[in-house]
């Protein structure tokens, strides 16, 4: 497990996302309306859709391919769909706004 500096909060639009790749895995960072930053594996459990491109509603993201709804805190797909993706711990330095993700 390593803690990695990936950027600043201001690099991500509110209700938007940015991605990065670590060990061949693409991770999506989301910034919610209340400023919270969350990191999940950028792969919908259904057909691998890029969640980073989806619409963010509250704490959930809608997959752009078939509208699966994934909770960004838990990585769990909402009913009636079933599935789960990896989530990663995120820390934001309140002074500098730097984002650290533990992978």
């Amino acid at each position: 497990m390593t803690k990695k500096l990936v950027g600043k909060v201001t690099d991500i639009d509110t209700r938007g996302s940015r991605t990065f790749i670590v060990n061949d895995m693409e991770i999506a960072l989301f910034r919610l309306s209340d400023g919270e930053v969350l990191a999940v594996e950028n792969k919908c459990p259904h057909k691998g859709g890029a969640l980073s491109e989806g619409m963010v509603c509250g704490t959930k993201v809608h997959c752009p391919l078939h509208d699966w709804k994934i909770d960004l805190h838990s990585g769990v797909a909402m009913d009636p769909d079933k599935g789960c993706i990896n989530t990663f711990e995120v820390e934001v330095d309140p002074n500098s706004g730097s984002i650290y993700v533990t992978i």
């Binding site: 690099d11 989806g54 509603c57 509250g58 391919l65």
Partner: protein
């Protein structure tokens, strides 16, 4: 450029004032330096949600509308916990109780109202409160921890909501009312009695026809004495007998008042530079205590301050709803049957449903609903529109019965094998749906959708799902009024009319005011609200890109592997060798795996990596083809009279003219056009949203065609003679579609739904066509090419790159 900003001071940090400021910032962000004073130590919160907080439905921090970060980011100076104590209208300055002096050019008084407290002996005892702000809410919560008995004086809207909250907190609650029946200002006696019974079943007790004389107890309240000599015990007394406009500050400062601060149609008081709005204001003799009127007032004032032309405020028709769990009550307009009116009633004591409509001269003037308030918003809009309801009175009273499916379809569905797929998008079989209805207990289409995903995507199989529901659930089917998505029960027309009425300006505001079930909505309602707001306020609304679908945010089509496809604009399908060369070179340079002609005669570069998109657009240096949006896609053309021996007119130049005219137009669904040069119709114009077919000496105009899932040939709209007329009719048709259709509703469905005759009728007068054309031109004049914009703005371009 840096003309000094005018100073705007707002007294009152509540819903009316801050909402007006939000509106003003959108209309004229640079115009004012804004200072806000608020007596309460909180940022702007949603006061109507206080009853939900008390009833346990919402947390305190969830009802904040604008947090402190918002004030900061808008450059607003906020003095929380400061009460303005005087105004010097000569020198244009206000003074706060904590010694702050703020000069102003324009001053807005939005001081709201105070609860009306009965001035009976003992009213100053500990444990006697109102129900008005967060402080009162907290006091009730605290009292419930150590005391048992509560009395609420007043069985109006507010009193009953307070009483329900106190019940939730575990107190024994008695509601005292001076009148014989409760909520008499909103309900007639029949509805009132049904409501009382329901509330009694929830544990509330009522003492009706009782007038309070004195509050008993030494230091803390012990009980209440009535004028008839009887008493009731109480550890807490909540007075909810009404509100009075807070006019103290205005009165002291020489502003003219009556019951509230007197304002004209532009919210101006008698003193220049001082305005008032919301619950503290009195307009044409009325001081409103509801949210809708104050939003309407705010919209007028914001425009006035922004220097935008605006018609004055002329007053509001209001409706009320009781926010008490398990009880649905709705009331609007004049429910008390004034002389000369007729009324229709429906009363079902078993189901607990009561409906009453009051009609005068064939116009609906009032409605009371109890138990089933689903029709409330619809009835309210009929009351406001003052339209004639002649001949459909019963339909309005009883609601429109759901389409009963024919028995032949029932038989066919019954015979269908279990493994047959009903929903092709999500692969849901008949058996799965039957099981969801049977053992799953689903008894509405919405539940089946939530449970199995059937009809959750394109919706094409919805009639079959309804049929299965009828077949397997039979009598236990509940017809649930379906809103535009699961977040609301309001349909498209209701939402659009509420946005217009309250001049709602943002997606968030719509959700807030119309009480959305999900705080930030879903992938269905967000894009539709974004569309409706843009359609209604083309000049003021700022498009919300985060509420757009992926393709429209990245201006390219997302493919299943996360790559994108790029379609440059090629007007009328006509290109040149040099343009082709450029496209070929760019395709080679970026290793585009496939180049393909689209169905609309354009070139599609498929399989492009997201990070390459801006660079590709830059090198192509061509406008975006909008092949990804709910917008004008292409105008397909045939060769026409330019080369073809049969061509009667120049279809190519007609096609190019139309494509240039409507390029970048936002529409409810995607829009495709085609122009054929002769009736042989080589451009297949009769399966397009708007098709033009040249004939000798004129043009046939066709509408509502579709070559997609459900193929539909167009209906003939009319025949015209000149090219200008083609543009005029196309403009009028497209704008009428933009204004009337639901989001995501293609013209084919829309034309079928409303009927081609209604469209012909709407476009019949030249005056109306030109008005529609004028409106579409306003919209079109404000569009920009998204590709160019992204190339030029690093803030937008960053989203195409990885973060590290």
């Amino acid at each position: 450029m840096t003309a000094a900003r005018k100073k705007l001071v707002l007294v009152g940090n509540g819903m009316a004032g801050v909402r007006m400021i939000e509106h003003l910032l959108k209309l004229n962000p640079e115009g004012y330096e804004i200072t806000i004073f608020g007596s309460e130590p909180y940022p702007n919160y949603n006061r109507i949600m206080l009853s939900s907080v008390l009833a346990g439905g919402a947390k305190m921090n969830e009802i904040i509308i604008n947090d402190l970060e918002w004030y900061h980011s808008q450059g607003i100076k906020l003095h929380m916990g400061h009460t303005v104590i005087s105004i010097d209208s000569e020198r244009r300055k206000v003074y706060s109780d904590k010694g702050i002096v703020a000069p102003y050019d324009e001053l807005i008084l939005a001081t709201g109202s105070n609860p009306f407290m009965l001035s009976i002996p003992g009213a100053d005892k500990e444990g006697v409160i109102a129900f008005r702000d967060i402080k009162d809410c907290q006091m009730m919560q605290k009292t419930a921890e150590s005391f048992k008995k509560a009395i609420v004086i007043g069985a109006g809207l507010l009193g009953l909501e307070a009483a329900r909250g106190l019940l939730h907190l575990g107190m024994e609650v008695t509601v005292v009312h001076i009148h014989d029946y409760i909520m008499e200002r909103q309900l007639d006696e029949a509805a009132s009695i049904m409501l009382r019974r329901e509330l009694e079943a929830q544990g509330m007790r009522f003492l009706l026809h009782k007038q309070s004389e004195a509050i008993l107890g030494k230091k803390r309240v012990k009980g209440l004495l009535f004028t008839d000599g009887s008493t009731a015990d109480a550890d807490l007394i909540v007075m909810a007998v009404g509100i009075k406009p807070n006019v103290e500050l205005a009165k002291k400062s020489g502003v003219q008042i009556n019951r509230g601060i007197i304002v004209n149609d532009y919210m101006e008081t008698n003193i220049p530079g001082i305005f008032a709005l919301g619950e503290c204001a009195e307009h044409r003799g009325i001081a409103y205590g509801l949210v809708a009127p104050l939003y309407e007032q705010g919209a007028v004032l914001a425009k006035r301050l922004a220097g935008v032309k605006v018609e004055g405020y002329t007053g509001s028709v209001t409706s009320t709803k009781l926010k008490v769990s398990g009880v649905d009550v709705f009331s609007a307009g004049q429910f008390a049957e004034p002389a000369g009116s007729r009324s229709l009633r429906y009363q079902d004591e078993i189901e607990g449903v009561y409906k009453k409509l009051v009609i005068q001269d064939d116009v609906l003037i009032g409605a009371v609903l109890f138990g089933d308030t689903g029709d409330g918003a619809g009835l309210f809009s009929i009351i406001k529109n003052k339209e004639s309801v002649k001949g459909r009175e019963k339909e309005l009273l009883l609601g429109i019965s759901a389409d009963v499916l024919s028995s032949t379809q029932g038989n066919r569905l019954e015979a269908m094998p279990d493994d047959e797929i009903i929903c092709g998008c999500n692969g849901v079989s008949k058996g799965t749906i039957a099981e969801a209805i049977g053992s799953g207990g689903c008894n509405s289409v919405g539940q089946i959708k939530a449970c199995t995903k059937a009809s959750a995507s394109c919706g094409g199989c919805k009639p079959l799902v309804e049929g299965l529901l009828q077949l397997y659930a039979g009598d236990s089917v509940t017809v649930v009024k379906e809103g535009i998505c699961g977040c609301t029960t309001l349909n498209r027309d209701e939402i659009v009319s509420e946005i217009k009425r309250m001049k709602l300006m943002t997606v968030k505001e719509v959700m807030n005011v119309l009480e959305w079930g999900q705080e930030e909505g879903c992938a269905k309602c967000r894009p539709s609200l974004n569309y409706y707001l843009g359609m209604l306020w083309p000049e003021d609304y700022v498009d919300e890109k985060e509420s757009r679908y992926t393709n429209e945010r990245y201006h390219a089509n997302i493919q299943k592997d996360g790559t994108y496809s790029v379609v440059p604009r090629i007007y009328g399908g006509v290109t040149s060798p040099s343009e082709l060369k450029k496209i070929a070179e760019v395709a080679e340079k970026f290793d585009v795996p496939m180049v393909k002609f689209t169905g609309g005669q354009r070139l599609d570069l498929l399989g492009v990596k997201k990070e390459d998109l801006p660079k590709m657009w830059e090198e192509l240096d061509m406008p975006s083809g909008h092949a990804y949006g709910k917008t004008l896609r292409t105008v397909k053309t045939c060769v026409g009279s330019t080369f073809c021996r049969f061509g009667t007119q120049d279809s190519i130049s007609m096609g190019i003219t139309l494509e240039k005219q409507f390029e970048r137009l936002n529409t409810p669904g995607k829009v495709k056009l085609a122009v054929s040069g002769c009736p042989r119709n080589c451009a297949e114009a009769t399966i397009k949203d708007f098709g033009v077919v040249a004939i000798d000496g004129g043009w046939e105009l066709h509408i509502g065609g579709n070559g997609g899932v459900h193929v539909r040939a167009t209906d003939l709209l009319c025949v015209v003679k000149t090219e200008d007329e083609v543009v005029e009719w196309a403009s009028a048709f497209l704008q009428y579609y933009r204004e009337e259709a639901g989001w995501n509703e293609r013209t084919a469905h829309w034309v079928e739904r409303v009927g081609v005759d209604s469209i012909k009728k709407a476009l019949e007068s030249r005056e109306e066509r030109l008005a529609l054309k004028g409106r579409i031109e306003t919209v079109l004049s404000r569009t920009t090419d998204p590709w160019k914009q992204i190339i030029n703005e690093s803030e937008l371009r960053k989203n195409f790159e990885t973060i590290t």
